[in-house]
C-alpha cells in the first residue's frame, strides 16, 4: 500500500529525442493517493496504456521517475512492484477449478491453507462465484472467467495497486452492469488503489472518484465525474464526455455578451477582451439546452431531426450552418419546424483556443 507519484514522466518509443512529436506520452506529473479509485480515459492512441505500463513496470519511461511513497522504483522490475494487473481478456488457468485459480497467487507466495481458504471463499461470495468454486474454469462463461481474473487480482491484501486495462471489453452490456457494480463494491470494501484504463466514458465515470482525461499524449483534465461533466476545461473533454458530447460553437465575445450567427446572448459573467485572432467558442451541454415555441427569447433555430432513443429524445437543430444537439423528454409544445433555443446561462462556458476561460461573475 502506497501513494504513487509520477514525476516528470515522458515516454518515446523510439528513445530519447529532441523532437516533441516523438513522445507518445508528453511530460506529466500525477499523484495517486493510497486507496483511491482512478480512471485513465481517452481515445485509442492517447497514451493511456503507455502510462499504465510505466506504472506496472512493463515499460521503462524515457524520462522521469515513478515513486511509491518516497521510494524511487523507476528501475524496479514488475515482479518487485507488488502490483496486480487485469487485462481485456481473462488470464486464468483453464484446467484449474475456480478455487485453485483464486488461491494461486497466495499459494505461490507460500501462504497456508488455513489463511487461503477463508479469503477465497469470501471473495468468491462477493463475486458471485461461490456455486462454481469447484468447477474447472474452462466450463465457465466469458463473464465468469473475467470475474476469476478480477478475483485473482484482489486476493492478495498487500498489493500496492490494481491496474485494469479495459477489463469489460468482452462482456455483454447487461453483465457489465453487474461486474461494474461489483468492482465498485470491492473497492469500497477493501480500499485498494485501483487504476482503470478505458475509452468508455460510462465505465470511467461510474468507477472512479477521479478521472484523468488524456488526449494525444497529454492530460487535458483531472477531475471528479461531476467536474468533467459540469465544467470541462478543454473542448476535447466536453466532446469526449457526455452522449452526445458538448455543443461547441464559434462566436464573437464582447464582455458579457456573445454573438452566435448574428444573434445576441447575454452571459452570467463578464470576460476580458480576447485576442481577436484566437479561436473563440461557446460550449454548452445538450442537457442544458431547452426548446421553446418560436419567438421566445432565444436563438431562432430549425429542427432538423428528432431521435427517440427510449429514455429521452435527442433533437438536432440548426441556425444557418451551426448545429446543436438537445436532450429533451417532451416536445409536445413544438408544433412547427422552427423554435427558440434557450441556453441555461449558468452552464454556458467560454473557450479560447480550446481552453476554458473564466470571467467575472455578474
Amino acid at each position: 500500500m502506497a501513494n504513487i507519484t509520477l514525476k516528470d514522466i515522458a515516454h518515446s518509443y523510439t528513445g530519447e529525442s529532441d523532437n516533441p512529436e516523438d513522445f507518445a506520452l508528453k511530460k506529466l506529473n500525477l499523484t495517486w493517493r493510497d486507496g483511491g479509485a482512478y480512471a485513465l480515459l481517452g481515445p485509442s492512441g492517447c497514451g493511456k496504456t503507455t502510462l499504465l505500463n510505466i506504472i506496472s513496470g512493463l515499460l521503462h519511461p524515457t524520462r522521469g521517475e515513478v515513486r511509491f511513497d518516497d521510494r524511487d522504483i523507476t528501475n524496479q522490475p514488475t515482479e518487485e512492484r507488488n502490483i496486480a494487473q487485469i487485462f481485456q481478456f481473462p488470464v486464468i488457468y483453464d484446467t484449474m477449478t475456480v478455487f485453485q485459480n483464486l488461491a494461486f497467487p497466495l499459494k505461490n507466495r507460500g501462504r497456508s491453507g488455513k489463511e487461503i481458504e477463508p479469503r477465497v471463499i469470501e471473495l468468491a461470495g462477493i463475486l458471485g462465484l461461490e456455486k462454481d468454486l469447484y468447477t474447472k474454469a474452462q466450463h465457465l462463461t466469458a463473464d465468469s472467467k473475467q470475474k476469476i481474473s478480477l478475483g485473482r487480482g484482489l486476493i492478495r491484501k498487500s498489493v500496492n495497486a490494481i491496474l485494469f486495462d479495459e477489463p469489460l471489453t468482452v462482456i455483454d452490456p447487461q453483465l457489465k452492469w453487474e461486474l461494474r457494480s461489483q468492482l465498485k463494491f470491492l473497492h469500497k470494501k477493501f480500499g485498494f488503489t485501483m487504476i482503470y484504463v478505458t475509452h468508455d466514458q460510462t465505465e470511467a465515470l461510474t468507477f472512479a472518484d477521479e478521472v484523468i482525461v488524456m488526449y494525444e499524449g497529454s492530460i487535458v483534465q483531472v477531475g471528479t465525474p461531476e467536474a468533467l461533466f459540469e465544467k470541462p476545461e478543454h473542448t476535447f473533454v466536453g466532446y469526449f464526455i457526455g452522449s452526445p458530447g458538448m455543443n461547441v460553437c464559434p462566436c464573437e465575445l464582447q464582455k458579457d455578451r456573445i454573438l452566435v450567427e448574428g444573434h445576441e446572448l447575454v452571459l452570467n459573467s463578464t470576460y476580458e477582451t480576447v485576442d481577436p485572432s484566437a479561436k473563440i467558442e461557446v460550449g454548452i451541454r445538450p442537457e442544458h439546452l431547452t426548446l421553446a415555441p418560436p419567438d421566445t427569447n432565444g436563438l431562432p433555430v430549425k429542427i432538423i431531426r428528432v431521435d427517440d432513443i427510449g429514455r429521452h429524445k435527442i433533437v438536432r437543430v440548426a441556425i444557418k450552418e451551426r448545429e446543436f444537439n438537445i436532450v429533451a423528454s417532451d416536445l409536445s409544445e413544438m408544433t412547427g419546424g422552427m423554435c427558440s433555443l434557450i441556453f441555461d446561462i449558468d452552464h454556458t462556458h467560454m473557450y479560447v483556443n480550446d481552453h476554458l476561460i473564466s470571467g467575472e461573475r455578474k
Partner: protein, 362 residues
C-alpha cells in the same frame, strides 16, 4: 429486394441453434438483430448470406426460393467486427476491389469510388494504406467496399464493437443516412440496446435462437410483447417484481402492495411479474400514487450528470437511474418510489398483459 425467412431452424446434433424463425425484411430498411452473445445473431446472418444452410425452413429473395444457393451466387456483402482490408492496397484500391473483380471499366470505378468515399468521408484518405488509418477509418473503408458492390443484402456483424466509444457514437449517427441512400436490405447485429435505439429502424429481439419480437425499434422498446424482450431492450437492466393477485389485492409477499389502478382490477387472480425501467424508479415522491419501498444501497455509480444506484429490496436487485449526483453510502437504507403508470405486467408465461398506458388512463 425483399428477404424472407420462413420457419427456419438449424440443428447441430440434437440441439437447435436456431428455432423456427420467420422474418421478412423489405428493401431500403435497416434491421437490427439484438441479443446477448450466443443468442443466434451470427448464425442467422450466416443463413441469410448462404454461408450455412438451414436444417428445415426456406429462405426467399424477392419471392424466389434461394435455400441451398451458395453465397457466391447471391448478391451479398458482409462487414465484420474485425476490420478486414487488403493491407498492401490503398484505400482507393480497397474500395475499388469488388468492381475490379467484376471487371468494371476505369471510368465507372472512378465514379463509384468517388461517390462511396464521399458518403463515408474517406475522400481525403484515398491514397493511404489501411495501417495509416485510425480504427474508425479502417472500418469505414470496409463499409465502403461492402457498399460499392451494390449488394442487395448487406450484413454487418457488430461492426462497431472494436471501435472507441466516441467513434461508435459518430458512426451510429451516420449509418442510418448511409443505409437510406443505398436501398439495400441492411441487417445489423449488436448486443447493445442503446445502439439499436440510436440506429432506429426495425429490431429483431433474439433469445436462445428464437425471435421474441420483431417490429420498429422504438415500438419493441416501448411495447415489449414478453418479459424476455423487455429485458433484451433494457440497458440499464430492467427492474422486476414478482406479485400475486388475490382477493382484490396485489402483493409482493408482505413487503409491497400494488394499488389496483386502471386495468389492474380486471386481471384474474394469479402470479404476475411487474417490470419497470430504472429511470422510472425514483428517489423522491413525484406523484401521490407512487408506491414507497424501503431499500438498502448496494453501490452508487455516478456519471457526472446522472447516478445509477444499485439497491437491494428484500433480496431483489434493482437499479435507480436518477438525474444529478447522489452520493449514497453502501448499506444506507433509503426509500424509493415506484410509479404504477410506468408498469408493464407480464403473466405467468411472461406474456405482456397490461401496458403502462392502461394503468395511466385513470
Amino acid at each position: 429486394m425483399q428477404l424472407e425467412l420462413r420457419n427456419v431452424s438449424t440443428k447441430v446434433g440434437e440441439e437447435f441453434h436456431i428455432t423456427d424463425v420467420s422474418l421478412a425484411f423489405e428493401a431500403g430498411t435497416l434491421n437490427i438483430l439484438l441479443g446477448a452473445t450466443l443468442s443466434g445473431k451470427t448464425s442467422l446472418m450466416r443463413l441469410m448470406a448462404g454461408l450455412d444452410q438451414p436444417t428445415s425452413g426456406k429462405i426467399y429473395v424477392r419471392g424466389d426460393d434461394v435455400t441451398g444457393v451458395a453465397v457466391q451466387k447471391r448478391n451479398v456483402a458482409m462487414v465484420y467486427q474485425q476490420f478486414i482490408n487488403y493491407p498492401n492496397l490503398t484505400v482507393y484500391e480497397n474500395i475499388a476491389s469488388p468492381l475490379r473483380i467484376a471487371k468494371a471499366s476505369k471510368d465507372i470505378i472512378a465514379e463509384k469510388v468517388a461517390k462511396v468515399s464521399n458518403l463515408l468521408k474517406l475522400d481525403n484518405l484515398l491514397q493511404r494504406k489501411p495501417q495509416e488509418l485510425s480504427g474508425g477509418q479502417q472500418q469505414r473503408t470496409a463499409l465502403a467496399r461492402a457498399l460499392i458492390k451494390g449488394a442487395e443484402l448487406v450484413l454487418l456483424d457488430e461492426p462497431l464493437a472494436n471501435l472507441d466509444y466516441k467513434l461508435r457514437e459518430e458512426l451510429r449517427e451516420e449509418l442510418p443516412r448511409i443505409f437510406a441512400e443505398t436501398g439495400a436490405v441492411f441487417v445489423y447485429a449488436t448486443t447493445e440496446p442503446s445502439e439499436a435505439l440510436l440506429l432506429g429502424g426495425n429490431t429483431v429481439s433474439l433469445h436462445e435462437g428464437r425471435v421474441t419480437q420483431f417490429g420498429p425499434t422504438i415500438d419493441v422498446f416501448s411495447k415489449p410483447a414478453n418479459l424476455i424482450t423487455a429485458r433484451t431492450l433494457s440497458d440499464p437492466p430492467l427492474n422486476t417484481l414478482p406479485v400475486t393477485k388475490f382477493n382484490n389485492r396485489m402483493l409482493y409477499k408482505s413487503h409491497v402492495e400494488i394499488p389496483l389502478l386502471g386495468s389492474l382490477p380486471d386481471l384474474p387472480d394469479d402470479d404476475y411479474t411487474i417490470a419497470f425501467r430504472p429511470h422510472h424508479l425514483c428517489l423522491r415522491r413525484k406523484f401521490d400514487s407512487a408506491i414507497s419501498v424501503k431499500a438498502k444501497v448496494v453501490v452508487a455509480e455516478i456519471t457526472g450528470s446522472e447516478s445509477f444506484i444499485h439497491i437491494d429490496v428484500v433480496g431483489m436487485r434493482w437499479v435507480v437511474l436518477a438525474r444529478g449526483i447522489h452520493n449514497l453510502d453502501i448499506n444506507e437504507t433509503i426509500e424509493v418510489f415506484l410509479d404504477p403508470s410506468k408498469f408493464y405486467v407480464f403473466d405467468r408465461n411472461e406474456q405482456l398483459v397490461v401496458t403502462p398506458e392502461t394503468i395511466a388512463d385513470v
